[in-house]
Amino acid sequence: MPEKPNKLLPAIYGGAIMALIAAIPVLNFVNCLCCAGVMFGGFMAVFFYQKDLKSGMPLLSSSDGVVLGLLAGLFGAILGSILDTIILLTVGNVGGQMLYGILESSGVTEQMPPDALEQMREGIESSTFNPISVFLTFIIDPLFGLFGGLIGYSIYKPKPGAVTPPPLPPAPAAAV
């Protein structure tokens, strides 16, 4: 029976999706809803993995969902931290500036107390690489990635009674 495909590549794809969602301004607001972007990365890792499962291979199992979700979260934390640092060093806190712009154009900043407004502006301008936030990412991403992997398995799990199909017979040799 052919072995299951490697989990590393689907997990890297899932991690890359997590990192991109977290890095792209506006899109990263998705993570404000219980880290939905991170969970989506874990879910996508399971999606890519089940796409790789060919006929004759063992079926998708719950342990695959656990491992893929955790791995995707780990890769998401690594890639996300690298991407965040690059963006911060090259173009600065784009997300913060955009958010400030939105608040300013909608008139919210005019209603804010001057102290709070100044504090917010200073926070955006002085944004630098934060090791604590990197450390937190390495806890939160695998945790929510795991949730995404579990949700992914519950969606793509084989139907009850499904059995591993026999491997396809080798193709007949072409007549020369």
Binding site: L33, C35, S63, V66, I140, L150, I151, S154, I155
Partner: protein, 172 residues
């Protein structure tokens, strides 16, 4: 102890700790000195998880919870769902599994969010809390069975590939 039970207890303890941290942040921040610092650390911990807008958060001791009201509803009802899981497991087995249950859990929140974004209706504190609580209480019934099966399978695989580790444990 059976590994399915261990997975359940870890999930229960983890979600209880998570909820405790959400409540502790405002309670600590409302005090001075070291407790205030502790509160600030807790707020910082939850910063990547939620927007933490004070206007959309529930208040304790004059300070907002560490996450917004929608997220609070999800996490606290997830804890409630995890507590109910062993009691309600038989009844819930009759309900649809996997994707259908997840869709049922997500639908009210998605409708609330998208209707609010499109300007069809204004999401209120009540709708945020209700839709969040609905998702949170159903979510353990989607993820817990998978987590318990998955970690049990991983443990079996690990003890097969590392028989010495298991033997050493028995001797200890």
């Amino acid at each position: 102890m059976e590994s399915r039970r261990i997975t359940y207890l870890i999930t229960l303890a983890g979600s209880a700790l998570w909820c405790l941290a959400i409540i502790s942040a405002p309670l600590c921040a409302s005090h001075g000195g070291a407790l205030k610092t502790c509160g600030d650390v807790l707020y910082e911990f939850f910063r990547p998880v939620c927007h933490q807008m004070a206007g959309r958060s529930l208040m304790i001791a004059g300070e907002p919870l560490a996450v917004c009201s929608r997220c609070s509803a999800v996490y606290f009802s997830f804890l409630l769902g995890t507590l109910l899981f062993p009691l309600a497991q038989k009844a819930w087995r009759r309900l649809p599994e996997g994707r259908t249950l997840l869709l049922l859990a997500l639908l009210p929140m998605l409708l609330d969010v998208f209707a609010s974004v499109l300007g069809i209706h204004d999401a209120t504190e009540t709708t945020r809390l209700l839709t969040g609580a609905w998702l949170g209480v159903l979510l353990p019934f989607v993820v817990l069975p998978v987590a318990m099966d998955g970690f049990t399978a991983l443990r079996v695989r690990f003890s097969r590939s590392h028989p010495h580790f298991q033997k050493g444990n028995r001797n200890a």
